[in-house]
């Protein structure tokens, strides 16, 4: 094994002790100042405002997309929400022959209400 250390002292930033000390103090003072700033009310509000805004935008987007994806309310559904007696009377007076599934849906609604 190559066991002799490589002399890397020329790239050692701490060889100038005074300069290195200034660097250390600079990092510490900036870190402490940033921490104090984060503890202020204004910063906290700002920190909360961003995610709150993002969540609101997300909810709006989902709501809008949901509205786009849902089908237009069609006649059978509208009819099913009405009183079955009225719907049946309407069919009879207009001499309509609705499909069996529609009749079952209208009667089922009524049954569920009862």
């Amino acid at each position: 094994m190559d066991e002799q250390k490589i002399d890397l002292s020329v790239v050692d930033p701490s060889r100038d002790a005074e300069r290195w000390e200034t660097l250390v103090q600079s990092v510490v003072s900036r870190a402490v100042a940033a921490r104090r700033r984060r503890l202020t009310v204004g910063y906290q509000l700002l920190a909360w405002a961003r995610p709150a805004l993002a969540i609101a935008a997300g909810v709006a987007l989902v709501s809008w997309a949901g509205r786009l994806a849902s089908p237009e309310p069609n006649a059978p559904v509208a009819e099913a929400q009405e009183d079955p007696a009225i719907v049946l009377a309407g069919w009879a007076s207009n001499d309509e022959r609705p499909p069996a599934t529609q009749i079952l849906r209208v009667l089922g609604e009524r049954h569920a209400v009862d």
Binding site: L8, S9, V11, P13, V24, V27, A31, R35
Partner: protein
């Protein structure tokens, strides 16, 4: 390098906002942060900036350091990421490396040392990033293979192999100028 429990205690104090703990962590790990930054960005002055920025980010996120005893590994990962971002930005704004004038060392150096500084950086540039990290942490910062392995997420055997290869290549390129006084494995 500080012992794990001492580091964990300092991190806990830093999480409570004690500035003395911030300072102790900077004193303990800024050189290691610089070493890894230099391994990534390849220029001393840039490495200092990256190490400082990484420390500020680390302190900003100190509450999310879930394993305070492994602060070093967590910090060095931030340094690596910060260094890569720095490198990306530098590629956009800089002239190509082969046409770039020699970097001015941040520390005032004699003409011989300045020449060695440039040669050393060029020689380091030919190593892989991990080899650079290992040789800088070991031969500059003085970390053991156990400490390097824990911080960089590799086995001690791999750390030894990287160091061996890095030293061999650096010695081949730098000749007698590269030899230090102490023996370490």
């Amino acid at each position: 390098m500080l012992a794990d429990d001492a580091t964990a205690a300092l991190v806990a104090r830093a999480q409570r906002g004690e500035s003395a703990a911030f300072e102790a962590l900077v004193r303990a790990y800024l050189r290691a942060a610089y070493s890894v930054a230099l391994a990534v960005v390849g220029r001393s002055a840039d490495a200092e900036d990256v190490a400082q920025d990484a420390f500020l980010i680390a302190f900003e996120r100190i509450d999310s350091c879930r394993e305070p005893a492994h602060f070093a590994g967590w910090l060095l990962q931030i340094v690596r990421n910060r260094g890569r971002n720095w490198l990306d930005r530098r590629r956009w704004r800089d002239v190509p490396a082969d046409r770039c004038v020699a970097e001015r060392a941040p520390v005032a150096l004699s003409s011989d040392d300045a020449s060695l500084h440039d040669q050393l950086l060029k020689a380091l540039e030919r190593l892989g990033t991990v080899q650079r990290e290992v040789v800088l942490l070991h031969d500059l910062e003085g970390w053991t293979h156990g400490e390097i392995a824990a911080a960089l997420g590799m086995s001690e055997v791999m750390s030894r192999q990287h160091l061996f290869q890095a030293r061999r290549q650096l010695r081949a390129q730098l000749g007698g100028q590269a030899t230090g006084g102490e023996n370490h494995g």
